[in-house]
């Protein structure tokens, strides 16, 4: 695919032009936080930031999403037509770890047998412009331990890499090339630019200090479901679910109905395997009655079950759960400890 060079001072104008034409999400300063949100007029998209506090998965898998509309007739429930298809969106400034989360979520939501039309429709109408991490953003980043890298292209349609004076613009997919017209001021990239990118990629990857045996624990997990180790991990867990809400790959959801008068909606909302009610059945039976079981589920889902089903670890190493856990439970330590069992 095509590669170009773009002078760095041109980028802001290009992003703003895109934002004028279509819905564009970008990292923006919001009080103390950098948040991934719709870029409003006159707002500057950030390029110098570590990562957004919230994961961009919400663009394709919103916190709360309408699934079905219905009304009540004298005879009962009547299903209504649904709003038309999703609109074109651009996601600018997605970090490579988060772009990888889209590729991981695609595996689940776009399976051969059962397809999730809400997710797929939005994903299909989107273009992801990823921004390579030229220096490790946080001490808690560990993308290189879970099949990723600071310059990974997985899940992205365009990858931008800061080469100093210019960005290397790599158009990775037809969706990315669909945005080529916006980059009219860019010039063809030469071999020098490629070499420089390679050097930066190696330097950035080497700078990720935090390492975990991401793949190596799979065979251990295969035989450790009943291991007493699990008794040691969840003692201080508050079951707040913050880790799952911050996670770019967590995708569990609840479906519930709401009515007002004769109009009803069925919506799905993010849910969390950390919550006791998550698996509680009407009979009162609950297959996971302890936080230990729930923590085991979360870890197994990411490092064993997803590997079994899709040959991929459902963790991109963004470190959000590590940073946001109110009681400092660190998934990196747990994975490392498992490797020693």
């Amino acid at each position: 695919m095509e590669k170009k060079l773009l002078k760095k001072d041109k980028l802001s104008g290009i992003v703003k032009k895109m934002a004028a034409d279509k819905t564009l999400y970008a990292p923006v300063q919001d009080e103390d936080n950098v948040l991934f949100k719709v870029l409003g007029p006159g707002v500057e998209p950030l390029v110098a930031f570590a990562n957004t506090k919230n994961a961009p998965k919400k663009v394709f898998f919103p916190h709360s999403e309408l699934l079905v509309k219905y009304t009540r007739s004298p005879k009962g429930m009547v299903f209504a037509a649904m709003p038309a298809d999703a609109k074109d969106v651009v996601l600018f400034g997605v970090r490579p770890c988060d772009a990888r989360s889209f590729a991981l979520l695609d595996m689940l939501f776009d399976q051969e047998k059962w397809k999730d039309p809400y997710y797929i429709e939005k994903r299909k109408k989107s273009a992801v412009i990823s921004l390579a991490c030229v220096q490790p953003p946080y001490a808690s980043c560990f993308c290189t331990s879970v099949d990723g890298s600071p310059t990974s292209t997985q899940g992205a349609d365009i990858l931008l890499t800061d080469l100093g004076e210019s960005y290397l613009v790599e158009f990775l997919t037809p969706r990315g090339e669909g945005l080529a017209a916006y980059f009219g001021e860019a010039t063809p990239a030469d071999a020098g630019a490629e070499a420089k990118k390679k050097e930066i990629a190696e330097k950035s990857a080497a700078a990720i200090q935090s390492k975990i045996p991401g793949r190596a624990i799979k065979p251990i997990l295969d035989v450790s479901f009943e291991h007493p180790f699990w008794d040691t991990i969840a003692g201080k867990c508050l079951a707040c679910g913050t880790c799952t809400y911050m996670c770019p790959t967590c995708h569990c959801f609840d479906i519930s109905d709401e009515i007002k008068g004769d109009d009803g909606v069925r919506i799905r909302n993010w849910d969390s395997c950390m919550f006791p009610l998550f698996t509680k059945e009407t009979s009162g039976h609950n297959p996971r009655t302890s936080q230990k079981q729930r923590w085991r589920q979360r870890l197994m889902h990411k490092f064993k079950y997803y590997v079994d089903n899709f040959d991929a670890i459902a963790c991109v190493g963004c470190g959000r759960c590590v940073m946001s856990c109110p009681v400092n439970i660190d998934i990196r330590k747990i994975v490392t400890d498992i490797s020693k069992l």
Binding site: Y70, K75, M82, P117, D254, I255, D257, I259, G264, T279
Partner: protein, 288 residues
Amino acid sequence: MEKPLQQIIAENPYVPMPVEIVKIITEVETKDIKTFRLAFVNKEDEERFKYIPGQFAELSFYGKGESPIGIASSPTQKGYIEFTVQKAGVVTSALHEAEEGTLMGVRGPLGNSWPIEFLEGKNIVIVGGGFAFTTLRSLINYMIFEENRKRFGKITVVYGARSPGLLLYKDELESWAKRGDIDLNVTVDKGDATWKGREGFVPTVCKEVAPSKENAVTVICGPPIMIRFTLPVFFDLGFSKENIITSLEMRMKCGIGKCGRCNVGSKYVCKDGPVFSLAELDKLTKEY
């Protein structure tokens, strides 16, 4: 711009098909288990809803949400589908208040099914306890259907309930008893003044009936306590774990392996199950 509903149903596994309750049968004397016969509002949905015994569907009720329920009818019964529902939670309680003629929704069929191809040509032992007899009833009606009967060997049924008033499908039990091609063994834990049938727990009756393991498969569904005491009987009779098939229940929402709720190890009960052999269950974690 909006899409027409029929197009959405074809493309979207979350959107239910509209159905009407055409018949409600109160099954038990405690009145908390009813069979709902549902007819599709649109003919094309009936064509689309092609199911196999052992599958389930999500029932939608106005304002209440969805509940996953095993399909109690057999695909050989045309023009309607049936669900036998115990009044338990929000959706099923609302359903129990409903009258014939009510419009509601059905999403499915979901899950795998009883392994029909695996069962073909074999002697089939059906063991059911209490309310869990619903998808077994589907399988029995499927197997004894005229064109299907010759595809299966001997059919032995052991079905138990706590009392005569708690037996489901009483009319059908009577008609099956009159057939010469099912060995039907209905039992109750304790009979009443009018009960002339067998008394005794399901495991004991299975031991008495003692079906042969030769070319045989047992399909078993019931409360955990019944399963626990019945399995050793079949192990003693020499049945292998590959030839004992059961169905699991878990809390479910989406029914299509997305919402992350009903996994047992790497498998989703909604999508990879609910039907598993004991040999398959042995490979999964014991978290259900």
